[in-house]
Amino acid sequence: MHIMEGFLPVSHAVGWFVASAPFVVAGGLSLRKIIRERPEARLNLAACGAFAFVLSALKMPSVTGSCSHPTGVGLGAVIFGPAVMAVLGTIVLLFQALLLAHGGLTTLGANVFSMAVVGPWVSYGIWKGLRSSGASIAVAVFAAAAVGDLATYVTTAVQLSLAYPDAESGIVGSFIKFAGIYAVTQVPLAIAEGLLTVVVMNALSGRAGQPDEIAVLAGEAR
């Protein structure tokens, strides 16, 4: 999902910065509120950031014969809400842009939008929707992480097709091409991320299957 440095036209690069900025600011406010109201949640917040740090470094093989990486932002989105992940995801993307030449500063706005905004919000929506329709915590967390991961890669494909429409088939044709590269490759990795997110959530909380599992991780219950 990393759009490489300099690979978005200036107008698109600026546009995605403008689109991402309010989410990052809102995330900063949400982060401050959580830390002030529930200081004991700080370590679990850091663990959610660490999870995104690990998963986005792991490039794994996929059935399409190419490699890609999960994002790891679903866990934090479920526990602390999607807003804070805009901040934690931006930190991960900055690290990779500055030290790994992976992604970039000019494309940071677009990459933040796909990985740190769309991914977490989709995860959160799936989590809320499934929980209110009676799914278990494990099933809802699995689906939230997996679908959020996939949504990030679909967003990258949309961003690139808007910037590079095909000469004949236009944006749609270009989207099909980019979605084939990003989204299809991502399907098995998204499922793997969903499974791993459930494992890590259970291990961090130590209360798998109990109704207050997420509240305990969020520092709302003891």
């Binding site: 999902m1 990393h2 759009i3 490489m4 440095e5 300099g6 690979f7 200036v10 370590l43 679990n44 850091a46 663990a47 660490a50 999870f51 740090f53 690990v54 470094a57 792991l58 093989p61 996929s62 059935v63 399409t64 014969g65 190419s66 490699c67 890609s68 690290f95 990779q96 842009a97 500055l98 030290l99 790994l100 030449a101 500063l105 000019t106 494990a138 890669y153 690139l160 590079y164 095909d166 091409k177 980019f178 590269i181 990003y182 490759t185 098995p188 990795l189 499922i191 793997a192 499974l195 791993l196 494992v199 890590v200 291990a203 961090l204 909380s205 130590g206 798998a208 299957g209 003891r222």
Partner: protein, 113 residues
Amino acid sequence: MKNSRTTWLLLATLALVVAPLVIPGLGGSFKGSDDQGTDAINELRPDYKPWFEPLWKPPSDEIESLLFSLQAGLGAGFIGFMIGRRSAAAKGSAKQVSGAVANGAVGDVNVAH
């Protein structure tokens, strides 16, 4: 039951990652999707020149893989610390409870964990 579920989930994750490497007919060059995306841009717009270069690039593939492993290692290390901390806290409170049972004072114990 909980631990066996964790085991099955981890095995399923492993199978998903290993399958493309071992199932005949699948597989390929295993190039990164981000690089393929860049290639696709070059195909759609052969004349496009990136207008900004990374400020710093890892000088070799070895340094790059060092930094990627550092990223994964730091994150995994912290998560491991958190799981260990939780498990130690659970043991501590279990000890408290069993000590209290021995003293016949179980009703007074706050079973927090």
